[in-house]
Amino acid sequence: MTGASRDECMTIAAARMLRDGCVCFVGIGLPSAACNLARLLHAPNIVLIYESGTIGTRPNVLPLSIGDGELAETASYVVPLPEIFSHYLQAGRVDVGFLGAAQIDRFGNLNSTVVGPYEHPSTRLPGAGGAPEIATHARQTFVMLKASPRSFVAQLDFRTCAGFLDGHGARARSGAPGGGPGAVITDFGILRPHPDSQELQLAALFEDATQAEAIAAVGWHLQVSPQVERIAAPTQVELNTLRALHARTREAHLRPVQLPGWVHA
């Protein structure tokens, strides 16, 4: 046992799913950590696209925002934002898109817009950003989201992103070009869509997680795959690499900003 936190387990599990050379549309937070961990370990040729327009970026530290200078400085090239969405995403040039959300339902549809009614929300969330079109166009999506009955819900308050809609082939019939959610990586393990119904089912558990914990954390009646895998514990190399990345990041974000012509008292 390596003493890894569940955040670390999620990040490492997501990193392991990324093939070398794949073109990956990255979001901030756990997805950004997972994609860069994959790049530092088994996928040195992974192409990371951040929606700010940076392509093939290889940041030494994780960005706080989607457009930190580090992403531009370490990119293969930087394009205007409209090109990212039209020439790359809409044109079908993204293999994997990462998504997060405040709510997910049993078919992998996502809400990142409001809790409560749209006109009078109890919680106004940040909104869609690039997510609806990532969900539509990426060949497949990976969703990273911690589980609780408040986030894994029977009914979304708002559908910001299409997963498998009502399942049973509804997404394909709607003409959506991308394949939809390939996996949901959460803090007890991994859900994957059932091949026929596309309902998310428990596919894998972290080493120290239980099926009972998974069922309790999900707000709908969670289906369980006939063969639930046990996810191998993080290796020391994986953990050391991830922790070093986070340590570099913390140090960089504390570094005081230098404004030309000014000194900070």
Binding site: I28, L64, T160, L259
Partner: protein, 282 residues
């Protein structure tokens, strides 16, 4: 193309009720210009920006905005924009109309605006609840293939305001690094104001650095540090620690108002703003 003080540029070119786009996708956010709009007490603005960020949180909290066109309203990597949330959830300081899109939709709307087309077409919004809550998201049939596409009306702001690295004396503007949708927002606008880190006799020769030519630029204001606490590539980096501090400052109305009073309303200009945060001219 005149080079104006920022105060004069805002006074002459931003009126109450205007549709104003202050673009910059985490990079080159025109904070100094936004603060000057707050100081001059503009009201009833229709604010347009893909990512409202801290500057629109401040404008909304100070009661400058009537309507917001946007696609992602958070504090990047930190969490909520608390002033935006307070306006939407509680109507404080007053109600805010939302015109909500996705990034792809807004990018298409700026591109259409820049080309002076009436709408942008794209494959977007399919199977989402956004069109049900925004009558500006519609569909159109391709006359060649019959495919149904999403359609969004062109964005043509009364004024677009950008921050850029440099302008030359003729008013040509260049910006580099993450360029977001600035060029499109600039070309879509009726008037274009640009604050810059430096004014040079002549822009350094470069074939592809984005240049906004002098005849589309309404006015330039020399405003070093004008994107702080956002950043200007090649000049200074993003103050991520400030973005993290903003979460606590903006969480409550009282601490927000006290901060705005001390750092924006009670300061004369951007140098005064920086001075109030502990910066001293070297």
């Amino acid at each position: 193309m005149p080079i104006l003080s920022l105060g004069d540029a805002i006074r002459d070119h931003v009126a109450d009720g205007d549709c104003v786009a202050m673009e910059g996708f985490t990079h080159l956010i025109p904070f100094a210009a936004g603060h000057e709009i707050i100081r001059q007490g503009r009201r009833d603005l229709h604010l347009v920006r893909m990512t409202p960020d801290l500057i629109y949180d401040q404008l909304i909290g100070m009661g400058c905005a009537r309507r917001l066109t946007f696609s992602w309203g958070g504090n990047p990597g930190v969490g909520s924009l608390h002033r935006l949330r307070d306006a939407v959830e509680n109507g404080w300081p007053h109600r805010l109309e939302l015109d909500e899109h996705s990034h792809a939709g807004m990018a298409a709307a700026y591109c259409a605006g820049a080309a002076r087309l009436p709408f942008g077409a794209l494959r977007a919004y399919a199977n989402t609840d956004l069109p049900a809550h925004n009558t500006a998201i519609r569909s159109v049939q391709c006359p060649f293939t019959g495919e149904t596409l999403a359609a969004v009306p062109a964005i043509n702001p009364d004024v677009t305001i950008l921050h850029a690295q440099r302008a030359d004396l003729a008013g040509n503007v260049s910006l580099q690094g993450i360029v977001g949708a600035q060029s499109e927002a600039a070309m879509a606008a009726k008037k274009l104001l640009v604050t810059v880190e430096e004014v040079v006799d002549q822009l350094p020769p470069s074939m592809n650095a984005i240049v906004l030519p002098h005849w589309v630029v309404t006015a330039v204001a020399h405003c070093p540090g004008g994107a702080y606490p956002s950043y200007a590539h090649g000049f200074y980096s993003r103050d991520n620690a400030f973005y993290q501090r903003w979460d606590a400052i903006s969480r409550h109305r009282e601490s927000f108002m006290a901060w705005m009073q001390a750092h924006v309303l009670d300061t004369r200009d951007h140098d005064g703003f920086l001075g109030s945060l502990g910066w001293k001219a070297a």
